[in-house]
Symmetry: C2
Subunit: 260 residues, 2 copies
């Protein structure tokens, strides 16, 4: 006879780990980790967070390799359900917020197709939090009444067509996963006559590896190269970037060039 | 002679309290509260969070009254600086995220003008987290490659002009502070031929008072009225809303009406 007390119910919790700083996770997320039997975690998750799971919990790295996205997502879905059925509570720990380009909903749907109870705990999205830690607000009276978050890498590996519309808009534009297409993205804004729009590129925001490059659209590719900024990084374009402490010097430089 | 050990340095920390659920606050925010001498908190902040501040800390409610915004923001700025100079560490506890229509940057600037060190700790923004808790993702492969967050109440008390552009876009559109203008917002989308676009209105997301109304743009005003939904509430418009468990029945109803 099976000992009912010891048979754990399958359960899945998608958890947002935030942008990288281990303290930028919620209390609710920590509570979920405390009761995890298994943690499946992504590449951009701070591994210090695994210490919130019981020592005996299974911890599995499921970071995707680029170029092999489709297979990996299927593998993750299957692992998640297999572990839930065999071990009990699976915490699926994802960088940033699970529903911002995180394919989190697909994981919820997959769990539901096996009738496994699943919930989601929001995390601090890099799209807002990373510029914020650099004291760049996505909205600010007189400068921006909205912000538009776009992916630089769609399912087909391309810049989202939405970015062309975003470049025409008055919104602050945040591009996630777009650093490898920075030159192309800058061109889209230049084509809208926005070569002088302030832009910031922030690598590994909120962590000890954080780097920031600030300039106008016309010159951002050069500045980012000089700063040795690489992935993971986000791009924020808009007048709000002019509020950054480094921007005043840049403005004075361009004013000087303009009046020569 | 002044006892230097007891003279506290003025310091200000803007803290995002998240959407309402007391567990949706970060560990970093709790740490800031633990060392607060004063907490200035807004109307939409869960008061349970005040328990993280020392019992002897001063707790001041600074929720704004509608119709008196400008004066109130000035008063808050002054209170914040006065308390920092006289008491030490002021935590400015704000609903959601301090930089999403929160006027947080203005508070940072004001602190800087008095040379008071100030930092900001991001919070879970309702714009992403509240739909997420209803299992509505702001992005989803095949349905949305971007999301656009707009205010329904600008400094002049109007709908942001950005919303007219947002209604033309393929982005998921999230409107904060727009519930009192729902009919006007619905009209903007109808004028773009989007009367059948799925929309959700969520009141007091993440709290025990949470209410949700789901329909298409053409009918959302009636449905919200029937659901007795009031402020605070957010509006999310886009195909991603069709992923909500209640939407299938709505789709079937409209398909039925269409084929009659």
């Amino acid at each position: 006879m099976i000992d009912q007390q010891k048979t754990k119910q399958p359960q899945i919790t998608l958890v947002g780990a935030g942008p990288g700083d281990a303290e930028l996770i919620t209390l609710k997320a920590v509570k979920a980790l405390n009761t995890a039997d298994v943690v499946l975690y992504d590449a951009l998750v701070n591994e210090e967070l695994l210490a919130y799971a019981p020592t005996w919990a299974v911890k599995v790295y499921v970071g995707k390799r680029s170029g092999d996205h489709t297979h990996s997502q299927e593998t993750i879905n299957k692992l998640m359900v297999d572990y839930a059925i065999n071990y009990g509570h699976v915490v699926r720990l994802k960088g940033g917020d699970p529903f911002v380009f995180g394919r989190g909903f697909e994981e919820l749907e997959y769990a539901a197709s096996f009738n496994i109870p699943a919930q989601v705990i929001p995390g601090i999205s890099s799209s807002i939090g990373v510029p914020e830690l650099q004291h760049i607000p996505v909205t600010h009276r007189g400068l921006s009444e909205s912000f538009w978050v776009v992916t630089g890498t769609t399912a087909e590996g391309k810049i989202s067509p939405d970015l062309y519309d975003a470049a025409k808009s008055k919104a602050t534009v945040v591009v996630l996963m777009g650093i490898h297409k920075l030159a192309e993205i800058a061109d889209i804004f230049k084509n809208e006559g926005k070569g002088k729009l302030p832009v910031a590129v922030i690598q590994s925001g909120s962590t000890s590896n954080e780097k920031v490059a600030i300039d106008v659209v016309d010159n951002i590719v050069v500045t980012v190269k000089e700063s040795n900024i690489t992935s993971p990084a986000l791009i924020i374009l808009g007048e709000v970037v002019s509020l950054h402490s480094q921007f005043q010097a840049i403005r004075e430089f361009y004013d000087f060039v303009d009046t020569k």
